[in-house]
């Protein structure tokens, strides 16, 4: 996971310079821009700012003013499904729900999507300090375990503790923070988010090889918790590939020449023996004739 606000600013400046180079017709710059887009990654968008009204969220591929994805009327507590997109540079913009697509966004950020990586871009913090945070979501799990992280999006409970069957997994999650991933054995566990003024609990089944995000929210009636299954794979990954063929349709190399050579040798011996006998008889007859 990274919190790349500064690097994003740098990247944005870099992208602006690249755009300028493109406009000036730099073919090298164009070639570079296209070489970045190989493979696919995933992105999902979320609204986790408690006192911010619903928004429209736009995803733009870098350099394209037509949005690739638009989510309308995204309210607090919403996390979209992941969308597979080509690897490359994108920008995410938030506008007030119903605002014109051409209007100035309330917020925007850029995000670089690498192939085979997954990202969550979430509006976080209080309305007055609203920011878009880019999270690089983990897609690898330790053998036999699940990964769990916590996004604390409750403004009413500024700090919460998160426990798994009574054992603390995140001791102090501050408002608008994202915890690191915790490796937890597979099983069904009772997760609890405990604030000074309330608790939210939920039974969560964690299969081995899965990645989860727990989101702590301000509900209509105290704390709330949602459990997201972010990704899943084989809990016990097989070792190596699979032995799935017996060779019946495979190309075959030439067989050994030895049996054929032996046959030729045997034939030669036979012919030689027969030939010698014939010759001997011939000689004997000649002798008889002379006597």
């Amino acid at each position: 996971m990274r919190f790349p606000r500064i690097t994003h600013t740098i990247r944005r400046v870099t992208m602006l310079l690249a755009a300028a180079a493109l406009l000036l017709g730099g073919p090298a710059a164009a070639a570079h821009a296209s070489s970045a887009t190989t493979g696919t990654g995933w992105i999902r968008l979320a609204h986790l700012s408690p006192n911010t009204p619903a928004v429209d969220v736009y995803l733009y591929s870098f350099g394209n003013s037509n949005a690739q994805i638009v989510l309308h009327h995204v309210a607090y507590g919403t996390v979209s499904p992941y969308e597979a997109v080509n690897a490359g540079d994108y920008s995410v913009a938030m506008r007030a729900a119903g605002a014109s697509a051409s209007s100035q966004p309330v917020l925007s950020t850029s995000v670089t999507i690498d192939a085979d990586h997954a990202y969550t871009v979430a509006g976080m913090g209080p309305e007055k300090g609203l920011r878009l945070q880019v999270m690089d979501d983990d897609l690898t799990t330790p053998p036999g375990k699940a990964l769990v992280r916590v996004i604390q999006a409750s403004l009413k409970q500024q700090t919460v503790k998160v426990t798994c069957n009574g054992t603390t997994i995140v001791p102090k999650a501050a408002f608008a923070s994202v915890s690191s991933y915790q490796a937890i054995p597979a099983g069904t566990w009772t997760m609890a988010a405990i604030g000074s003024g309330g608790t939210a609990t939920q039974s969560v089944t964690l299969a081995a090889g899965t990645v989860h995000t727990l989101v702590v929210l301000d509900g209509s009636n105290g704390l709330e918790m949602i459990s997201l299954e972010d990704a899943a794979g084989a809990g016990k990954p097989p070792l190596g590939g699979a032995a799935t063929g017996f060779g019946g349709t495979a190309p075959h190399g030439p067989g050994s020449p030895l049996p054929w050579a032996a046959l030729i040798g045997a034939g030669s011996l036979l012919a030689l023996t027969g030939g010698l006998r014939l010759r001997r008889r011939g000689l004997r007859r000649q002798l008889h004739a002379e006597v």
Binding site: R44, A84, T210, A232, T244, P257
Partner: protein, 212 residues
């Protein structure tokens, strides 16, 4: 004259054997190519029919039923799915040699259509002919793959890429690791067959994602 006959016969027999040996040597000097294509009549199948159900990947993903059959119309595959685990050496179990016409789903992987990478395995061939995944490497991006589940629902996948890996460089994380959407991995053998080990040296892996 009668005395000469056995010697003449031996001589003639020797010549015949030499001729046979030479003919055999000449006729087996070239390689036999792989069997291809498959017999006529095996071709495109119609897509299966039934409700295609794609549960939303939301906060509470609905569980999906276990897979029971697989259809790949383009390459004429229509097979039931058996369940597979791990072999004693930790590798992926494969369908038995007595049943190479079926493919199997690895029960340690997600169910097809649930979030994650579902693993389905089938043989490319038997000791003397094609098996269920013989034509797997003919699939290309966009080709359709259907899995029917125990509750009768179908899930449709679209091929994204087909890769060939040497078995000693098999990318287990890419193939078996977690994915954030519903994906399918179809695995069979490919590349060169090594008669010394009795195994192919490569695997073919077809990657597909759920059509939504």
């Amino acid at each position: 004259m009668a005395f000469r006959r056995p010697a003449a016969i031996i001589f003639a027999a020797g010549l015949v054997v030499i001729a046979a040996g030479s003919a055999g040597l000449l006729l087996t000097r070239h390689s036999t190519p792989a069997m291809r294509p498959v017999a006529a009549g095996v071709g495109a199948l119609p897509a299966p029919t039934g409700p295609i159900v794609a549960p939303p990947q939301s906060a509470a993903p609905r569980p999906v039923a276990a897979p029971v059959s697989l259809t790949i119309p383009l390459i004429g595959v229509s097979t039931k799915l058996i369940t597979l685990g791990l072999a004693s050496d930790g590798s992926l179990q494969v369908p038995p040699i007595t049943n190479t016409a079926v493919a199997g789903w690895y029960t340690g992987s997600p169910r097809p259509g649930a979030i994650g990478s579902a693993i389905i395995v089938g043989h490319i061939d038997t000791v003397n002919g094609p098996a269920v995944f013989y034509r797997l490497d003919e699939l290309r991006k966009g080709d359709q793959v259907y899995v029917r589940r125990a509750d009768g629902t179908l899930v449709k996948f679209l091929v994204t890429t087909v890769q060939k890996y040497l078995k000693d460089q098999f990318p287990t994380q890419t193939v078996y690791g977690p994915t954030p959407d519903a994906e399918l991995r179809l695995i069979t053998c490919g590349g060169t067959f090594d008669p010394a080990t009795g195994h192919y040296v490569s695997n073919i892996v077809v990657y597909a994602t759920e059509a939504r």
